[in-house]
């Protein structure tokens, strides 16, 4: 909030000019990444490699939304880490469950055949 806190003054009647360039820049970045995802979805055959590209691009988009739109980049270090460290648990959850899913899938298939 450090950056915005300086704008927070008691209203005096005069309204300052809007400062929106950074908002539109972030918007164009997110739109460009989304467009790129569609180009890849149409032109590239499905594969694990394609899926990893999608996931990396999604994380880029998430970074811009959280850092700029939700302003986390401009908060204190303590707040940033208290949000990011719990998120690391989710990566473990993701890897663990997908591995388990493949294992269960194989076990079921072997049972049938």
């Amino acid at each position: 909030m450090a950056q915005h806190a300086t704008h927070d003054t008691v209203p005096t009647g005069e309204i300052p000019k809007p400062n929106t360039a950074w908002i539109w820049r972030t918007f164009w970045i997110i739109s460009a990444i989304t467009a790129l995802e569609f180009v890849i979805a149409y032109l590239m055959p499905a594969s694990t490699f394609r899926n990893s590209i999608f996931i990396i691009l999604t994380i880029f988009k998430a970074f811009f939304i959280v850092a700029e739109f939700m302003h986390l980049k401009h908060e204190t270090k303590g707040l940033i880490w208290s949000i990011l460290i719990p998120m690391a648990l989710l990566i473990w959850l993701l890897v663990a469950l997908i591995t388990e899913g493949s294992y269960i899938g194989e076990a079921v298939q072997n049972l049938i055949s």
Partner: protein, 256 residues
């Protein structure tokens, strides 16, 4: 009498002093206000709920069979997980045209755009520009409501199904989807679609309600009297989070 009023005056002035110590509430943890901090922690817990949904999707998808043939020859079957772009290829008003993910792309852009108008509302709040706050809140409400309508259309299409339908294992033809049966693939595919997009849609709906309330409060001058537009900022955090979740739902449900 006079002694009592003197002590009263002293304690009053003691209360007026700004709180400076750590233990009497003088410090703001992380230099963020109470409300904003609690909103962040709520969103963190909500992120875990959505992550549970999406990892469940991964788990269930991986334990089902994979379609082996070419994408062109793909047919719906309950034996393997469907290719998402073969399921979501319809667009309102363009019946029979195969437009893989076209409508989802539109919905994604609507939600990203609503996020932009939301930041613009927060920015206007910092400048105490009441008219601009009202304008951008209205745009955000409009985009949010449009997104919900799009989702209603998509659900209707998903539930109604295609004209051809799919021959099920018992030999009957089934159109569309419900919680127990669907023409697109394994039962759980439709269940996860309903739960994940439904849970997200509920969040968007709550967001729109909060925004309508914030618009009314802005119009009544509530935030102006309060001296800050922090409530718009907090609702903004929630709204961006909903957009963020959609970005992940979009990747894991529609693209991968």
């Amino acid at each position: 009498m006079s002694t009592i009023s003197t002590t009263q005056a002293i304690s009053d002035s003691a209360l007026d002093k700004p709180r400076t110590g750590t233990w009497d509430g003088g410090n703001e943890p992380f230099k963020a206000s109470y409300g904003k901090l609690m909103m962040w922690f709520f969103l963190l817990s909500d992120a875990f709920t959505f992550a549970a949904f999406l990892t469940t999707y991964g788990l269930i998808r991986h334990r089902h069979g994979v379609y082996e043939g070419t994408p062109e020859a793909f047919k719906f079957s309950t034996n393997y997980w469907p290719i998402p772009e073969k399921v979501f290829d319809a667009f309102p008003g363009l019946h029979g045209t195969h437009l893989p993910l076209g409508f989802v792309a539109l919905m994604t852009m609507i939600l990203i755009f609503s996020s932009v108008t939301m930041v613009l509302a927060v920015e206007a709040g910092h400048r105490f520009d009441k008219k601009d706050v009202q304008k951008w809140l209205l745009w955000t409400i409009l985009f949010g409501a449009t997104f919900l309508s799009c989702q209603a259309w998509e659900w209707t299409h998903f539930i109604t199904g295609t004209e051809a339908g799919t021959v099920m294992n018992d030999g009957t033809v089934f159109h569309g989807a419900n919680l127990a049966m669907n023409q697109y693939g394994p039962v759980l595919f439709a269940d996860l679609f309903f739960f994940i997009t439904g849970f997200h849609g509920t969040h968007v709906f709550s967001g729109v309600c909060l925004l309508v309330w914030a618009f009314i409060a802005t119009t009544n001058g509530t935030f102006e009297k309060r001296g800050h537009y922090e409530m718009v900022e907090k609702i903004g955090l929630y709204w961006h989070f909903v957009d963020l979740v959609w970005v992940f739902v979009f990747t894991f449900f529609y693209l991968v």
